[in-house]
Symmetry: C2
């Protein structure tokens, strides 16, 4: 049931059959329909979510009332609000499905149990977080350094799958410009 996740973990650390069994015993499977939520603003975030199938996004509501997507996640990505997860304070984010999705849910409590029983999982998450940190810095760099058009082409080159599956207006807002600008860039191409 959780083969996708086991295969992903196997790229970073090696777990024994017993450890894989312990791990999957502490996961639950969640099906979530398009436009449904696994996290609402004001709720305490309780789990890490691994996308086995589908596409999700995390967003917040700007002072202007507009939605601002801050992160996308498709197959083989984890998503959560670490601020709320760790502090147990209400989240300022929404996490919503863009497509019908299948998600492995690892609650905070189960994750702590697993870290005790399978220390290699600390390593797995540490390695993933290093990559996420580096990617975030690169994203901040692009916001400062690249023109609107360069930002689109760069994202397109790095994440072609996202560009194909994310609605155009949502991608535009994520990259920091209007859907109209995105249409123009695409038409030019």
């Amino acid at each position: 049931m959780f083969e996708t996740l086991l295969a992903h973990i196997d790229r970073f650390v090696k777990l024994s059959d017993t450890e894989q069994q312990i791990l999957t015993n502490h996961l639950s499977l969640q099906h979530i329909g398009k436009k449904e939520y696994i996290l609402n603003e004001g709720d305490v975030c309780n789990a890490n979510y691994f996308i086995m199938k589908g596409l999700l996004r995390m967003y917040f509501i700007k002072d202007t009332g507009q939605e601002q997507t801050i992160q996308f996640a498709l197959e083989n990505w984890w998503i959560t609000d670490y601020t709320s997860l760790e502090s147990r304070q209400p989240s300022g984010y929404f996490i919503q499905a863009i497509e019908n999705s299948e998600i492995a849910v690892l609650t905070k409590a189960n994750r702590e149990i697993l870290f005790q029983q399978i220390p290699q999982l600390e390593r797995y998450f540490r390695l993933l977080l290093q990559r996420m940190h580096a990617a975030n810095l690169m994203r901040i760099q692009y916001l400062f350094d690249l023109s609107v058009e360069e930002r689109y082409h760069q994202f397109n080159a790095r994440f072609p799958e996202f560009v194909q599956r994310i609605p155009q207006y949502m991608l535009a807002v994520y990259l920091g410009f209007t859907p109209e600008v995105l249409s123009k860039i695409r038409a030019k191409k």
Copy 2:
């Protein structure tokens, strides 16, 4: 010699005296003068750096030729270029001292040895990286959501120590506006 770092680790995980000894045996102390570098663009980043005393910044050179600071680090912060550290590719960043600084250097090779001998250190870095990831997302959120003035006040409220010690022009660029705008905001206050 590394008391500051040991105290910081102790806030997250508990190490035995023997483990603390093993750890400090794998660190080296580096003194670095104001404006000197511990990482130059084009070099492969080889270590994680923990600031015991002083203040550093990580920056890149924009297409326009201007320096864009992307991260500051003072006492009790770690700094590195994880992209270069993990990929062994040349870094796109500079890491430079803003003040005379005292740094604990943990090389990549020694960190791997330590992870084998003290698995709790994986947890320590995993917890730090979670916080950094959350802080990065918040920073991206502020870039999208806050006015220039709000961004300054928000940074000032969260990191008063940084604001006192970072040169005004450097802080302005970090927050994404010109030194002139920052002067105006400060004058208003």
